[in-house]
Symmetry: D2
């Protein structure tokens, strides 16, 4: 099992995303790494009109992208930026209509194995205790030497 | 259970999406309703640079949005455009790297109940028999009179 | 939304299970309600040879039954024994081989709505901090008057 | 990718299960391998009182065990009996109340990779076209030489 302590800082992770995945910022940056801790990471998605659907709700795909990204960042933080990890599965439950403000995604790694990493993600409207979307996901981790 | 036969045509569904969800076409239309049949629907996502990730792969969130939309269209086709159906759960398995061409999403409704509709979606690269992403999802259907 | 506080005690829940689902105790009782708290419940599955598979591991179906039961008990605790709730979906990630001792299942309700209840369940080997199986599930709740 | 054609017959698979997992037959054999075909397998669960719940329905855990077993058999059929494959994830949607007769589980392999195999399973009451439970699952396949 990889280290239970992050080996990349928040700033290193943000710089990695900017460099490798510039297209997630297309139309203006809305995804931010807020915090990295042992076996966990927190991402933020800024409230932005391109994520909004009729009635003021935030689109499901925007939340799914946020959850996937939070899991990816949590894993990279612990295995380092060289690894080419790919999502193999994601499961979502949509629980409530999000409010019209930033979303916070808290990812907790449940397993960080040699081949598979598994985590769950709870997404909240900032300042609210209620989970609006819960996700679990698995990444496949390539062989390392 | 609602009718097993579609009560909306492909053109009516496309017009409904254009009117109610114009933002899914932002940056140029890439999602198209290809076909509607009893308890099934087929959507297409045109190959477009905004769905591409480094290495030429198609982004996971773009495929997740496509699967969600295919399920939504299959349900609306059978219950009509007035219903406010919302996604309650989605499960994805990412199986292969998609090719650099259009993606086809085939949705099959497994249940079309009074309160819940459930379906699965197989996503292919056009012209290839291999499933690149498989999804199952549930929509909650509001009470109707 | 139903009350966030349990309206059934641990003993009432145990008596309800004994009366309504005697077959889960077939071959000797192994499922026990350990604790009920606001929006959560804890079940225990006693280590028993009928749950064991070759190599000393505990069978996946035994853990799946435990998770489903923990979610059911958490929901009943908050809506009362009369409701006929049925499982509509369950998602499992199997993370590690359990140890040869009792399993503890901690269920947390993420949503307790009028029609749907959603929760997640973390299963541990007693005395170990590591999650061996993580589940999320949805129950459909019948209309109440 | 392993062969797309089975390398074990139905009888070889049944004998393997009898030898390696005798406990699934405890209380009388109810799980049977009905058929193996390229990238698919069909299992049967005989109607038996130990799988029944109040009201005559078949227990969810019995159906979950059947789905897991169908996926396991489909994989083994294609990679052979020596491999120690383990379930890493399972997702279930429960769609209808099964009838009081045998259940048939049709498994289709969606991916049979070097490290992961993924499939879906549709469970029917024998003689009925309607899916009562739909599952998708992933097995991790150990390194082979």
């Amino acid at each position: 099992m990889a280290s239970h302590h992050p080996i990349m800082t928040r700033d290193e992770l943000a710089a990695f995303l900017d460099r490798e995945f510039p297209q997630i910022h297309m139309g203006g940056q809305t995804y931010f790494v807020d915090e990295v801790r042992p076996l966990s990471a927190r991402m933020r998605m800024a409230y932005h009109e391109r994520h909004i659907r009729p009635g003021g709700t935030i689109s499901g795909p925007a939340m799914m992208a946020l959850a996937d990204l939070a899991l990816y960042v949590a894993i990279l933080a612990h295995i380092g930026p060289v690894a080419l990890a790919v999502t193999t599965s994601l499961n979502f439950n949509f629980l409530r209509k999000p409010e019209q403000r930033d979303l916070i995604a808290d990812c907790r790694l449940l397993k960080l194995g040699k081949r598979l990493a598994v985590g769950d993600v709870s997404i909240y409207s900032e300042g609210s205790p209620e989970v609006v979307c819960h996700a679990t996901g698995t990444y496949s981790i390539p062989d390392r030497r």
